[in-house]
Protein backbone atom coordinates (compact mmCIF):
# COMPACT_ATOMS: atom_id res chain seq x y z
CA UNK A 1 0.00 0.00 0.00
CA UNK A 2 2.88 2.35 0.88
CA UNK A 3 4.62 1.59 -2.44
CA UNK A 4 1.43 2.16 -4.44
CA UNK A 5 0.62 5.38 -2.55
CA UNK A 6 4.15 6.71 -2.99
CA UNK A 7 4.03 5.97 -6.72
CA UNK A 8 0.66 7.68 -7.22
CA UNK A 9 1.73 10.77 -5.22
CA UNK A 10 5.07 11.00 -7.02
CA UNK A 11 3.29 10.71 -10.38
CA UNK A 12 1.12 13.76 -9.54
CA UNK A 13 4.32 15.82 -9.45
CA UNK A 14 6.48 13.98 -12.03
CA UNK A 15 4.03 13.99 -14.97
CA UNK A 16 3.47 17.80 -15.05
CA UNK A 17 7.18 18.37 -14.24
CA UNK A 18 8.21 16.45 -17.39
CA UNK A 19 5.79 18.58 -19.43
CA UNK A 20 7.21 21.80 -18.01
CA UNK A 21 10.81 20.71 -18.70
CA UNK A 22 10.04 19.43 -22.21
CA UNK A 23 10.87 15.78 -21.40
CA UNK A 24 8.25 14.72 -23.91
CA UNK A 25 7.76 12.92 -27.20
CA UNK A 26 5.05 12.27 -29.78
CA UNK A 27 2.25 9.72 -29.37
CA UNK A 28 2.30 8.38 -32.94
CA UNK A 29 -0.96 6.45 -32.62
CA UNK A 30 -2.97 9.52 -31.63
CA UNK A 31 -0.87 12.13 -33.44
CA UNK A 32 -0.41 14.06 -30.18
CA UNK A 33 2.79 15.91 -29.27
CA UNK A 34 4.08 16.74 -25.79
CA UNK A 35 3.44 13.43 -23.98
CA UNK A 36 5.89 13.01 -21.04
CA UNK A 37 8.32 10.23 -21.92
CA UNK A 38 9.97 9.04 -18.67
CA UNK A 39 6.99 7.99 -16.56
CA UNK A 40 8.72 4.77 -15.51
CA UNK A 41 10.35 6.77 -12.73
CA UNK A 42 6.97 6.45 -10.95
CA UNK A 43 7.45 2.67 -10.66
CA UNK A 44 11.06 3.13 -9.58
CA UNK A 45 10.13 5.52 -6.74
CA UNK A 46 7.17 3.35 -5.67
CA UNK A 47 9.24 0.16 -5.54
CA UNK A 48 12.18 1.93 -3.83
CA UNK A 49 9.82 3.01 -1.01
CA UNK A 50 8.42 -0.52 -0.69
CA UNK A 51 11.80 -2.28 -0.78
CA UNK A 52 13.23 0.31 1.63
CA UNK A 53 10.50 -0.39 4.19
CA UNK A 54 10.71 -4.19 3.89
CA UNK A 55 14.54 -4.32 3.86
CA UNK A 56 14.54 -4.27 7.68
CA UNK A 57 13.06 -7.77 7.70
CA UNK A 58 13.85 -9.19 4.21
CA UNK A 59 17.59 -9.09 3.36
CA UNK A 60 17.04 -9.78 -0.38
CA UNK A 61 15.35 -6.37 -0.72
CA UNK A 62 18.79 -4.70 -0.49
CA UNK A 63 20.56 -6.38 -3.48
CA UNK A 64 17.25 -6.23 -5.36
CA UNK A 65 16.97 -2.48 -4.80
CA UNK A 66 20.64 -1.86 -5.70
CA UNK A 67 20.51 -3.76 -9.03
CA UNK A 68 17.05 -2.56 -10.11
CA UNK A 69 17.81 1.04 -9.11
CA UNK A 70 21.15 1.06 -10.99
CA UNK A 71 19.62 -0.35 -14.19
CA UNK A 72 16.55 1.92 -13.85
CA UNK A 73 18.74 5.00 -13.50
CA UNK A 74 20.69 3.92 -16.61
CA UNK A 75 17.32 3.92 -18.40
CA UNK A 76 16.57 7.41 -17.06
CA UNK A 77 19.91 8.73 -18.34
CA UNK A 78 19.10 7.06 -21.67
CA UNK A 79 15.72 8.86 -21.76
CA UNK A 80 17.24 12.23 -20.93
CA UNK A 81 20.56 12.16 -22.81
CA UNK A 82 20.88 8.86 -24.69
CA UNK A 83 23.26 5.99 -23.88
CA UNK A 84 25.35 3.89 -26.27
CA UNK A 85 23.71 0.54 -27.13
CA UNK A 86 26.69 -1.44 -25.79
CA UNK A 87 26.37 0.32 -22.41
CA UNK A 88 22.69 -0.62 -22.33
CA UNK A 89 23.55 -4.30 -22.78
CA UNK A 90 26.87 -4.55 -20.93
CA UNK A 91 25.92 -2.64 -17.75
CA UNK A 92 23.19 -5.15 -16.75
CA UNK A 93 25.61 -8.02 -17.65
CA UNK A 94 28.24 -6.53 -15.32
CA UNK A 95 25.71 -6.11 -12.50
CA UNK A 96 24.51 -9.69 -13.04
CA UNK A 97 28.02 -11.11 -12.54
CA UNK A 98 28.59 -8.91 -9.47
CA UNK A 99 25.32 -10.32 -8.05
CA UNK A 100 26.44 -13.88 -8.86
CA UNK A 101 29.63 -13.26 -6.83
CA UNK A 102 27.74 -11.67 -3.94
CA UNK A 103 24.96 -14.20 -3.37
CA UNK A 104 24.45 -17.94 -3.74
CA UNK A 105 22.71 -18.35 -7.11
CA UNK A 106 20.98 -21.59 -8.11
CA UNK A 107 18.96 -22.66 -11.13
CA UNK A 108 16.27 -25.24 -10.40
CA UNK A 109 14.58 -26.38 -13.61
CA UNK A 110 10.87 -27.25 -13.26
CA UNK A 111 10.33 -31.03 -13.25
CA UNK A 112 14.10 -31.55 -13.47
CA UNK A 113 15.73 -30.09 -10.36
CA UNK A 114 19.41 -29.18 -10.19
CA UNK A 115 22.28 -30.27 -12.48
CA UNK A 116 24.83 -29.38 -9.75
CA UNK A 117 26.87 -27.77 -12.54
CA UNK A 118 27.53 -24.13 -13.37
CA UNK A 119 23.93 -23.33 -14.22
CA UNK A 120 23.72 -20.82 -11.35
CA UNK A 121 25.99 -18.57 -13.40
CA UNK A 122 23.69 -18.93 -16.38
CA UNK A 123 20.73 -17.93 -14.20
CA UNK A 124 22.10 -14.42 -13.63
CA UNK A 125 22.06 -13.82 -17.39
CA UNK A 126 18.29 -13.55 -16.95
CA UNK A 127 18.93 -9.98 -15.72
CA UNK A 128 20.36 -8.55 -18.98
CA UNK A 129 18.20 -10.83 -21.13
CA UNK A 130 14.85 -10.00 -19.51
CA UNK A 131 15.72 -6.30 -19.03
CA UNK A 132 16.33 -5.96 -22.78
CA UNK A 133 13.35 -8.19 -23.62
CA UNK A 134 11.06 -5.87 -21.59
CA UNK A 135 12.60 -2.88 -23.37
CA UNK A 136 11.89 -4.47 -26.77
CA UNK A 137 8.16 -5.00 -26.08
CA UNK A 138 6.69 -1.72 -24.87
CA UNK A 139 4.70 -0.79 -27.97
CA UNK A 140 1.35 0.57 -26.72
CA UNK A 141 -0.15 2.48 -23.79
CA UNK A 142 -0.58 0.44 -20.62
CA UNK A 143 0.86 -2.87 -21.80
CA UNK A 144 4.18 -2.98 -19.93
CA UNK A 145 2.84 -2.23 -16.41
CA UNK A 146 -0.20 -4.48 -16.96
CA UNK A 147 2.08 -7.32 -18.12
CA UNK A 148 4.30 -6.80 -15.08
CA UNK A 149 1.32 -7.20 -12.76
CA UNK A 150 0.38 -10.50 -14.48
CA UNK A 151 3.93 -11.95 -14.52
CA UNK A 152 4.63 -10.89 -10.91
CA UNK A 153 1.31 -12.40 -9.75
CA UNK A 154 2.27 -15.66 -11.48
CA UNK A 155 5.71 -15.70 -9.82
CA UNK A 156 4.06 -14.91 -6.46
CA UNK A 157 1.81 -17.95 -6.91
CA UNK A 158 4.86 -20.15 -7.67
CA UNK A 159 6.73 -18.72 -4.66
CA UNK A 160 3.68 -19.37 -2.46
CA UNK A 161 3.57 -23.02 -3.63
CA UNK A 162 7.26 -23.30 -2.71
CA UNK A 163 6.73 -21.59 0.66
CA UNK A 164 8.96 -18.58 -0.21
CA UNK A 165 7.01 -16.00 1.81
CA UNK A 166 9.65 -13.24 1.47
CA UNK A 167 9.55 -13.54 -2.33
CA UNK A 168 5.74 -13.17 -2.24
CA UNK A 169 6.06 -9.88 -0.28
CA UNK A 170 8.69 -8.51 -2.70
CA UNK A 171 6.62 -9.53 -5.72
CA UNK A 172 3.59 -7.76 -4.21
CA UNK A 173 5.68 -4.58 -3.99
CA UNK A 174 6.60 -5.02 -7.68
CA UNK A 175 2.89 -5.40 -8.50
CA UNK A 176 2.03 -2.27 -6.48
CA UNK A 177 4.73 -0.26 -8.29
CA UNK A 178 3.50 -1.53 -11.69
CA UNK A 179 -0.10 -0.65 -10.78
CA UNK A 180 0.92 2.88 -9.77
CA UNK A 181 2.62 3.29 -13.16
CA UNK A 182 -0.38 1.74 -14.95
CA UNK A 183 -2.65 4.51 -13.61
CA UNK A 184 -0.59 7.06 -15.57
CA UNK A 185 0.31 4.87 -18.59
CA UNK A 186 -3.12 3.31 -19.28
CA UNK A 187 -4.86 4.19 -22.55
CA UNK A 188 -4.87 7.12 -23.32
CA UNK A 189 -1.49 7.56 -21.58
CA UNK A 190 -0.70 10.63 -19.48
CA UNK A 191 2.96 9.55 -19.72
CA UNK A 192 5.05 6.94 -21.55
CA UNK A 193 7.12 4.46 -19.50
CA UNK A 194 10.38 5.31 -21.25
CA UNK A 195 13.54 3.24 -20.93
CA UNK A 196 13.53 4.00 -17.19
CA UNK A 197 10.25 2.06 -16.90
CA UNK A 198 11.15 -0.95 -19.03
CA UNK A 199 14.68 -1.20 -17.59
CA UNK A 200 13.60 -0.83 -13.98
CA UNK A 201 10.68 -3.26 -14.22
CA UNK A 202 12.73 -5.78 -16.22
CA UNK A 203 15.73 -5.60 -13.90
CA UNK A 204 13.54 -5.69 -10.78
CA UNK A 205 11.58 -8.76 -11.78
CA UNK A 206 14.61 -10.67 -13.14
CA UNK A 207 16.78 -9.88 -10.09
CA UNK A 208 13.98 -11.13 -7.86
CA UNK A 209 13.78 -14.29 -9.97
CA UNK A 210 17.55 -14.81 -9.67
CA UNK A 211 17.57 -14.26 -5.88
CA UNK A 212 14.71 -16.72 -5.30
CA UNK A 213 15.62 -19.32 -7.96
CA UNK A 214 12.55 -18.48 -10.08
CA UNK A 215 14.28 -17.83 -13.43
CA UNK A 216 12.64 -20.65 -15.47
CA UNK A 217 9.20 -19.51 -14.20
CA UNK A 218 10.01 -15.92 -15.18
CA UNK A 219 10.86 -17.14 -18.70
CA UNK A 220 7.62 -19.15 -18.86
CA UNK A 221 5.33 -16.43 -17.44
CA UNK A 222 7.03 -13.72 -19.52
CA UNK A 223 7.19 -15.89 -22.64
CA UNK A 224 5.65 -13.22 -24.94
CA UNK A 225 8.68 -11.00 -24.12
CA UNK A 226 11.09 -13.89 -24.81
CA UNK A 227 9.33 -14.80 -28.07
CA UNK A 228 9.37 -11.16 -29.23
CA UNK A 229 13.07 -10.81 -28.34
CA UNK A 230 14.02 -14.06 -30.12
CA UNK A 231 12.06 -13.04 -33.24
CA UNK A 232 13.72 -9.62 -33.41
CA UNK A 233 17.25 -10.90 -32.69
CA UNK A 234 17.04 -13.73 -35.25
CA UNK A 235 15.49 -11.55 -37.98
CA UNK A 236 17.62 -8.43 -37.45
CA UNK A 237 20.88 -10.37 -37.24
CA UNK A 238 21.85 -9.70 -33.60
CA UNK A 239 21.33 -7.32 -30.69
CA UNK A 240 20.74 -3.78 -31.92
CA UNK A 241 19.30 -0.61 -30.40
CA UNK A 242 15.51 -0.38 -30.74
CA UNK A 243 15.74 2.79 -32.83
CA UNK A 244 18.18 1.12 -35.28
CA UNK A 245 15.71 -1.64 -36.16
CA UNK A 246 13.30 -0.75 -38.97
CA UNK A 247 9.67 -1.15 -37.87
CA UNK A 248 8.02 -4.24 -39.41
CA UNK A 249 4.64 -2.45 -39.17
CA UNK A 250 3.26 0.86 -40.39
CA UNK A 251 0.52 3.16 -39.17
CA UNK A 252 -2.32 4.55 -41.30
CA UNK A 253 -5.20 6.56 -39.76
CA UNK A 254 -4.42 5.17 -36.29
CA UNK A 255 -4.48 1.55 -37.49
CA UNK A 256 -1.39 -0.73 -37.43
CA UNK A 257 -0.66 -2.86 -40.51
CA UNK A 258 2.14 -5.36 -41.06
CA UNK A 259 4.76 -4.42 -43.63
CA UNK A 260 5.16 -7.55 -45.76
CA UNK A 261 8.30 -6.12 -47.38
CA UNK A 262 10.14 -5.96 -44.01
CA UNK A 263 12.46 -8.84 -43.07
CA UNK A 264 11.95 -8.07 -39.35
CA UNK A 265 9.40 -10.04 -37.33
CA UNK A 266 8.05 -8.87 -33.97
CA UNK A 267 5.17 -10.02 -31.81
CA UNK A 268 3.17 -6.92 -32.77
CA UNK A 269 3.65 -7.84 -36.44
CA UNK A 270 2.40 -11.37 -35.75
CA UNK A 271 -0.62 -9.84 -33.93
CA UNK A 272 -1.58 -7.54 -36.80
CA UNK A 273 -0.94 -10.27 -39.39
CA UNK A 274 -4.40 -11.65 -38.48
CA UNK A 275 -6.00 -8.29 -39.26
CA UNK A 276 -4.94 -4.62 -39.00
CA UNK A 277 -5.56 -3.35 -35.46
CA UNK A 278 -5.94 -0.09 -33.57
CA UNK A 279 -3.72 0.67 -30.56
CA UNK A 280 -6.22 -0.61 -27.98
CA UNK A 281 -6.70 -3.92 -29.85
CA UNK A 282 -2.91 -4.43 -29.91
CA UNK A 283 -2.93 -3.79 -26.12
CA UNK A 284 -5.70 -6.34 -25.58
CA UNK A 285 -4.00 -9.00 -27.75
CA UNK A 286 -0.63 -8.68 -26.03
CA UNK A 287 -2.19 -8.52 -22.55
CA UNK A 288 -4.23 -11.67 -23.20
CA UNK A 289 -1.01 -13.41 -24.33
CA UNK A 290 0.86 -12.43 -21.12
CA UNK A 291 -2.15 -13.29 -18.94
CA UNK A 292 -2.32 -16.74 -20.62
CA UNK A 293 1.39 -17.52 -20.15
CA UNK A 294 1.25 -16.26 -16.54
CA UNK A 295 -1.82 -18.36 -15.69
CA UNK A 296 -0.29 -21.47 -17.31
CA UNK A 297 2.90 -20.98 -15.28
CA UNK A 298 1.05 -20.71 -11.96
CA UNK A 299 -0.93 -23.84 -12.92
CA UNK A 300 2.33 -25.66 -13.82
CA UNK A 301 3.73 -25.07 -10.32
CA UNK A 302 0.56 -26.44 -8.68
CA UNK A 303 0.66 -29.43 -11.06
CA UNK A 304 4.30 -30.20 -10.23
CA UNK A 305 3.50 -29.98 -6.51
CA UNK A 306 0.62 -32.45 -6.99
CA UNK A 307 2.99 -34.87 -8.76
CA UNK A 308 5.72 -34.33 -6.10
CA UNK A 309 8.16 -33.26 -8.81
CA UNK A 310 10.90 -30.59 -8.40
CA UNK A 311 9.42 -27.05 -8.53
Amino acid sequence: MAAFGAGVLFGMWWVPYQKRRGITSRDIYKGVDGVPRAGGLIALVAAAVGYGIISASVWAAVPLLVVALAVGLLGLVDDLRGVHEYARVLFPVLLAFVLARAVDVRLTIPAVGLFYGATGWLAVLAIPVMTNAFNMLDPVNGFLPAANVAVAASLAAVAAVRGQVDAVYLLMIHMAASLALYLYNKYPAKTFNGNVGSYFLGAGLSTLAVLYDLVPYLILAGLPFVVNGALIIFTSGGIKAREKIARPTYLRDGVVYQDCSSPIISLVRVAVSDRPMGEYDVFKTLTVAVAASSALTAALAFFLRLLNMPI
Partner: protein, 71 residues
Protein backbone atom coordinates in the same frame (compact mmCIF):
# COMPACT_ATOMS: atom_id res chain seq x y z
CA UNK B 1 -5.00 -12.73 -31.75
CA UNK B 2 -5.16 -16.25 -33.24
CA UNK B 3 -1.59 -16.22 -34.60
CA UNK B 4 -0.09 -14.69 -31.45
CA UNK B 5 -1.72 -17.34 -29.25
CA UNK B 6 -0.69 -20.10 -31.67
CA UNK B 7 2.93 -18.94 -31.52
CA UNK B 8 2.76 -18.50 -27.74
CA UNK B 9 1.19 -21.88 -26.95
CA UNK B 10 3.49 -23.77 -29.32
CA UNK B 11 6.52 -22.05 -27.74
CA UNK B 12 5.19 -22.87 -24.27
CA UNK B 13 4.61 -26.51 -25.25
CA UNK B 14 8.11 -26.89 -26.72
CA UNK B 15 9.73 -25.37 -23.62
CA UNK B 16 7.83 -27.62 -21.20
CA UNK B 17 8.62 -30.60 -23.47
CA UNK B 18 12.32 -29.70 -23.14
CA UNK B 19 11.91 -29.79 -19.33
CA UNK B 20 10.29 -33.23 -19.51
CA UNK B 21 13.07 -34.55 -21.78
CA UNK B 22 15.67 -33.09 -19.41
CA UNK B 23 14.04 -34.77 -16.40
CA UNK B 24 14.31 -38.13 -18.21
CA UNK B 25 17.98 -37.46 -19.03
CA UNK B 26 18.89 -36.13 -15.56
CA UNK B 27 21.56 -38.77 -14.72
CA UNK B 28 23.41 -37.86 -17.95
CA UNK B 29 22.98 -34.11 -17.42
CA UNK B 30 24.56 -34.37 -13.95
CA UNK B 31 27.76 -36.01 -15.25
CA UNK B 32 30.74 -33.74 -14.62
CA UNK B 33 32.87 -32.72 -17.59
CA UNK B 34 35.51 -30.47 -16.01
CA UNK B 35 35.96 -27.78 -13.34
CA UNK B 36 32.42 -27.78 -12.02
CA UNK B 37 30.85 -27.95 -15.46
CA UNK B 38 28.30 -30.70 -16.09
CA UNK B 39 26.84 -32.10 -19.32
CA UNK B 40 23.66 -30.18 -18.41
CA UNK B 41 25.48 -26.84 -18.69
CA UNK B 42 26.41 -27.56 -22.31
CA UNK B 43 22.95 -29.00 -23.01
CA UNK B 44 21.23 -25.87 -21.68
CA UNK B 45 23.25 -23.58 -24.00
CA UNK B 46 22.45 -25.79 -27.01
CA UNK B 47 18.77 -25.96 -25.96
CA UNK B 48 18.54 -22.14 -25.70
CA UNK B 49 19.87 -21.75 -29.27
CA UNK B 50 17.60 -24.45 -30.69
CA UNK B 51 14.62 -22.98 -28.85
CA UNK B 52 15.33 -19.53 -30.33
CA UNK B 53 15.57 -21.14 -33.75
CA UNK B 54 12.20 -22.84 -33.23
CA UNK B 55 10.54 -19.51 -32.32
CA UNK B 56 12.10 -17.86 -35.39
CA UNK B 57 10.94 -20.60 -37.79
CA UNK B 58 7.43 -20.68 -36.28
CA UNK B 59 7.16 -16.87 -36.54
CA UNK B 60 8.47 -16.91 -40.11
CA UNK B 61 5.94 -19.53 -41.19
CA UNK B 62 3.04 -17.58 -39.64
CA UNK B 63 4.12 -14.31 -41.28
CA UNK B 64 4.74 -15.91 -44.69
CA UNK B 65 1.28 -17.46 -44.67
CA UNK B 66 -0.37 -14.14 -43.79
CA UNK B 67 1.53 -12.17 -46.47
CA UNK B 68 0.72 -14.85 -49.04
CA UNK B 69 -2.99 -14.56 -48.13
CA UNK B 70 -2.95 -10.87 -48.94
CA UNK B 71 -1.40 -11.18 -52.43
Amino acid sequence: MKRVLLLLFSSYAVLTALFVIASALLPILRKKIAAGFAVGDVAIVVAVFLYGLFIYIAGLLLIRASCKDRR
